[in-house]
């Protein structure tokens, strides 16, 4: 009568399918490798550089040489060392930004999307109000209020990221909420906490991961921007943005010192975007749901 379903070997898991799809995307893989390279260099900073990033040498504004791979800046500091240590600070800043933004926006987006109605209205109008400020001005204001430091700068940038994140999350929740399995769970007697944590969160995770990956790049860029304005990490330690700002005044006589941090920022941001696009293709659209 009812034949027992007993299928053959297990098909690949979601994770494996995702990895194989991502690995096939060469451009995204190139981006991922570059990001990985930057991370490794940042972690191994003392091992991959010969000098302290704050040590002054008698040669100033020098081009690349055997002693100083990327040359030196206007006060005789080794550019390679500063770049490597700067990667630490820049990455730390963007990690804090994205984590903080997610921590704040996730509950807002989930709650607004799931409960909708009045709750949604109040939360989203709040987000709209934040949207209304130009992000840079908002970040400068927050950074100025909190005082100059790397962490305060990161908080300031995170604040500008929150409304965007919250909107994306809410939108996804609204879409998932209409699925039948949500109604099915409700008819089983599941409470709101279980619904959000167990059914909604995993189903909005994919777009969230993509958003986070892309935002890493933008966070790095924003950090560079604020540092350029002098609101970030304080001298003598330097993020890439600070390096850019210091070298900027000599851009005509000694463009080298500007080009290097600029290139580092551009390539890293590009790589994060490529990774984000790759994730979108591997996780997002066309994700096989088994529908015939």
């Amino acid at each position: 009568m009812i034949g027992l379903i007993d299928d053959g070997p297990a098909p690949p898991t979601d994770a494996r399918r995702f990895l194989s799809r991502f690995a096939q995307d060469r451009v995204a893989m190139a981006g991922a490798l570059f990001v990985l390279l930057v991370i490794v260099i940042a972690i191994l900073a003392p091992d991959v550089s010969r000098y302290s990033p704050t040590a002054n040498f008698p040669v100033i504004n020098a081009g690349p040489s055997g002693a100083h791979w990327l040359g030196t800046d206007d006060v005789g500091r080794d550019l390679w060392s500063r770049l490597v240590y700067g990667a630490r600070i820049s990455l730390e800043a963007s990690t804090i930004v994205v984590t903080l933004a997610l921590l704040v926006s996730l509950p807002i987006g989930l709650v607004a999307g799931y409960f909708s109605g009045r709750t949604d209205n109040v939360l989203m109008r709040l987000m709209d109000a934040m949207f209304a400020f130009p992000p840079l001005i908002l970040a400068i204001t927050v950074a100025a209020l909190l005082g100059r430091s790397l962490h305060n700068e990161s908080i300031a940038i995170a604040v500008t990221f929150v409304p965007g994140f919250a909107r994306v999350i809410r939108g996804q929740v609204l879409a998932v909420r209409e699925e039948t399995f949500i109604e099915a769970s409700r008819s089983l007697g599941a409470g709101p906490l279980r619904m959000i944590g167990r059914h909604i969160l995993p189903n909005v995770a994919s777009p969230l991961i993509i958003q986070a990956a892309v935002s890493f790049g933008y966070a790095l860029l924003a950090e560079a921007g604020l540092s350029f304005l002098g609101l970030g990490v304080q001298p003598p330690s330097a993020s890439w943005g600070v390096m850019l700002q210091e070298a900027y005044q000599f851009i005509l006589s000694d463009p080298w010192a500007t080009i290097i941090p600029g290139l580092a920022i551009a390539l890293t941001v590009l790589s994060f975007n490529l990774v984000g696009d790759g994730l979108r293709d591997a996780l997002g659209r066309g994700r096989e749901r088994g529908r015939p």
């Binding site: 009568m1 009812i2 034949g3 027992l4 379903i5 007993d6 299928d7 297990a10 098909p11 898991t13 979601d14 194989s20 096939q24 699925e179 039948t180 399995f181 109604e183 099915a184 769970s185 409700r186 008819s187 089983l188 007697g189 599941a190 409470g191 279980r194 167990r198 059914h199 995993p202 189903n203 995770a205 096989e288 749901r289 088994g290 529908r291 015939p292």
Partner: protein, 719 residues
């Protein structure tokens, strides 16, 4: 259609198909299509050959995943580039090979000589343009005519497909059209350039039976009038019996049988065809389980060698694993089965039961349970209004009467079927019963406990005693939760079961619905639709409910898997004493499973009573029309029967007709129907009907509607 006595010997290449087709319009030979899957090109259609003669209708049938749609798309070269490609064969149409044409010549054929209509009428029209503009565009793409002339032609074809007031509607946007109207508009667009071939891909699947009957009627008359040929892709054998001259059955990317419709239904030669015919619920004997085709269609890339059906075939023997070609079996029929000469397969002639609303000798009721009839679910005067808001201030502008005073009782161990067209409010009733939405009035009591008085935790506990099985098994399981986790969820919520205790119970539940317990860790997308529906049933059973509310539990499934799920539901009822509130539009499914039936129209019940009584001798004109609209899977009877094609579509519940709500479409409407709500009338056979015919006018007084002589101007059609 001509049938010539002479049959040509079939060569090993299977190149000769349908020797009877003298004048060929479309000749497909050795068609092969591959799709890119996981980085590899997998053949999904192999060596498919068929002919369509001018004015002929060829049906392409099979379960989903068999390559029917892909084959029909390949004819028009509409296989999405990059994902799929045509690897072999030729498609000869009016003397030219479409596969050889350059882009411009192909464009000239598409939409002009060959037109296409699709399954989903809601999305196949562009919402940004008026219907007339889209039809005009189609005309001007092929004919050098002025805009005014194109518009005039649009009005003409819209009028031809039965759009009322076509001259005005031509300037309306698609969203103002209902589903059935949009499909008519699509057909109008297809007809605009007088094609010689119409490819229809499941054109009625998304529509209600009554609207389906209208569309089929329309296609039939258009065909007679214009002499166009049709390639009709469908999974519904009733529709095939209704409209097709020849049938080609596809399985796992191959043609397995091809024959004239009547011959195929009377005596199939391939076991797969036999299985498809036998598993139709309308051919089942009430109280007996349905025939099933075990297993599922193999995926591309995992095709077994030799006969692809052999793993699911009850006749398979040693030797079936060797390659097998199509062979001629006379009178233009072809079959791909090694044993076709020795097997005597049963068609509809040797029926397992009776189809259609015609009395049959077998009237065995289902075994009643001792405690059956003790009321479990009692619904009284249930109402639900949805406010309609509009304008800047979101003021309530009106109310949609989705459910308007429903009384319903479901006894212990009993199945009550709730039927009606979409928009009748039956799904709203399901949600009201489970209190997934709050009613505007009336009471729902389960086991004597009024759900209306319960809140929060208590309500959640009460819900544990009744569970819901949803229509779409593809979206009713969380795609990110393993099936074991989904099935175990109610156990965690209500019983607090964790770890191995839970897993053990999940294993039992999965086994109960016929899914191997070791598969508990897999994700839903690894299962087919029918399997997912079983898993959904297992989840619904986790808390040992007494009542299952099944909202269209099988309508999203293929015929063969449909019967598996129906059997499972019947089997579980017998073993566990479950009561079902079964909501469906398919009356044959409802009849097979239900003890009692209630027919809903526009928020009200119009007739209710014992299933067989309602099915055999409907006492309400709407029930009669609904039954008449279901195509019977028997070409001879389907074509000979007297059909009642309902006029128009269900009125908006926002502004329901006064008096009897059905009167606007009723063939027997009288003056009194306009003013007075029909009272309930209990017939001698145990049914209750809400119709003035029984109390005033011709006074049927409980007799079936069919005993009335058709009045002039009624919707009855004999075709």
């Amino acid at each position: 259609m001509t049938t010539q006595p002479e049959t040509r010997a079939t060569s090993a290449t299977a190149a000769t198909v349908d020797p009877t087709a003298t004048g060929r319009l479309l000749t497909v030979r050795g068609l092969g299509v591959s799709f890119l899957s996981g980085g590899h090109w997998q053949p999904v259609v192999e060596d498919v050959s068929f002919d369509v003669a001018p004015g002929q209708t060829l049906g392409l049938v099979g379960e989903s995943g068999c390559g029917k749609t892909v084959s029909s798309l390949a004819v028009m070269r509409l296989i999405p580039a990059g994902r799929g490609r045509i690897t072999a064969g030729s498609v000869e149409f009016e003397g030219q090979d479409l596969l050889e044409l350059d882009a411009e010549s192909l464009r000239r054929v598409r939409g002009d000589r060959i037109a296409m209509i699709f399954q989903e009428p809601m999305t196949s029209l562009n919402p940004a343009f008026t219907v007339g503009a889209q039809i005009g565009l189609a005309i001007r793409a092929h004919r050098d005519v002025s805009k005014a002339a194109a518009r005039a032609r649009a009005v003409e074809v819209l009028d031809r497909v039965g759009i009322p007031d076509a001259g005005r509607r031509v300037d309306d946007y698609p969203h103002t059209f209902s589903g059935g109207m949009r499909q008519r508009a699509m057909i109008a667009m297809a007809l605009a350039c007088d094609p010689t071939l119409l490819i229809a891909d499941e054109p009625t699947t998304a529509l209600d039976v009554t609207v389906q009957a209208q569309i089929l009627e329309l296609l039939r008359s258009l065909k007679d009038e214009t002499g166009m040929a049709m390639l009709f892709v469908t999974h519904d054998l009733g529709v095939v019996a209704d409209i097709c001259d020849r049938v080609a059955v596809m399985y796992a990317g191959q043609l397995v049988e091809q024959a004239p419709t009547e011959a195929l239904f009377a005596r199939p030669h391939h076991p797969y065809t036999e299985g498809l015919l036998a598993s139709m619920p309308q051919r089942a004997v009430p109280g007996r389980s349905l025939t099933v085709i075990p297993g599922r269609v193999p995926h591309p890339g995992q095709m077994p060698a030799g006969c692809r059906f052999r793993a699911r075939c009850r006749y398979s023997v040693d030797g079936c694993e060797q390659a097998i070609d199509l062979a001629s079996v006379g009178s233009g029929a072809l079959v791909r089965c090694r044993r076709h000469l020795e097997l005597a397969l049963s068609g509809i002639g040797t029926a397992v039961g009776s189809a259609g609303p015609v009395p049959s000798a077998d009237d065995r009721p289902r075994a009643p349970r001792p405690d059956r009839g003790v009321p479990l679910l009692v619904v009284r005067d249930l109402r639900k209004d949805f406010p309609v808001t509009g304008g800047v201030l979101r003021l309530v502008r009106g109310r949609v009467n989705a459910v308007d005073g429903i009384d319903l009782t479901v006894g212990v161990g009993e199945t009550v079927g709730l039927v009606g067209e979409s928009g009748s409010g039956k799904s709203t009733v399901a949600r009201l019963v489970l209190r997934l939405i709050a009613p505007s009035g009336g009471t729902v009591a389960v086991n004597g406990q009024d759900l209306g008085s319960l809140r929060g935790r208590e309500l959640r506990r009460a819900r544990a005693g009744m569970q819901m099985v949803f229509q779409d098994p593809y979206s009713s399981l969380d795609p990110h939760s393993s099936i074991g986790r989904s099935v175990g969820e109610p156990l965690e919520i209500h019983r607090g079961l964790r770890g191995s205790e839970r897993d053990q119970r999940v294993g039992q539940l999965l086994e109960m619905v016929g899914v191997g317990p070791h598969l508990a860790g897999r994700l839903p997308h690894e299962f087919s639709g029918g399997q997912r529906q079983r898993i959904a049933v297992a989840r619904a059973l986790a808390l040992e409910p007494k009542l299952l509310v099944c909202d269209e539990p099988v309508s999203a499934l293929d015929v063969s898997t449909q019967s598996q799920v129906i059997n499972l539901l019947a089997d579980l009822q017998e073993r566990l004493g479950l009561a079902y509130l079964l909501i469906a539009h398919d009356l044959s499914v409802v009849r097979h499973l239900s003890h009692r039936i209630a027919v809903m129209y526009l928020g009200r019940i119009v007739e209710s009573g014992p299933a067989e009584k309602v099915y055999r001798s409907p006492t309400h004109p709407y029930t009669e029309a609904l039954l008449s609209a279901i195509p019977i899977a028997d070409p001879a009877r389907q074509r000979a029967r007297q059909r009642i094609v309902l006029r128009g579509e269900m009125p908006s519940p926002l502004d329901p007709p006064t008096g009897c709500r059905f009167r606007t479409r009723c063939a027997y409407a009288m003056d009194i129907c306009k003013e007075v709500d029909p009272p309930a009338f209990a017939t001698a056979s145990g049914t209750t009907t809400w119709c003035h015919l029984h109390t005033s006018g011709p006074a049927l007084a409980g007799a079936p509607v069919s005993s009335l002589a058709p009045t002039q101007g009624s919707g009855r059609v004999r075709s």
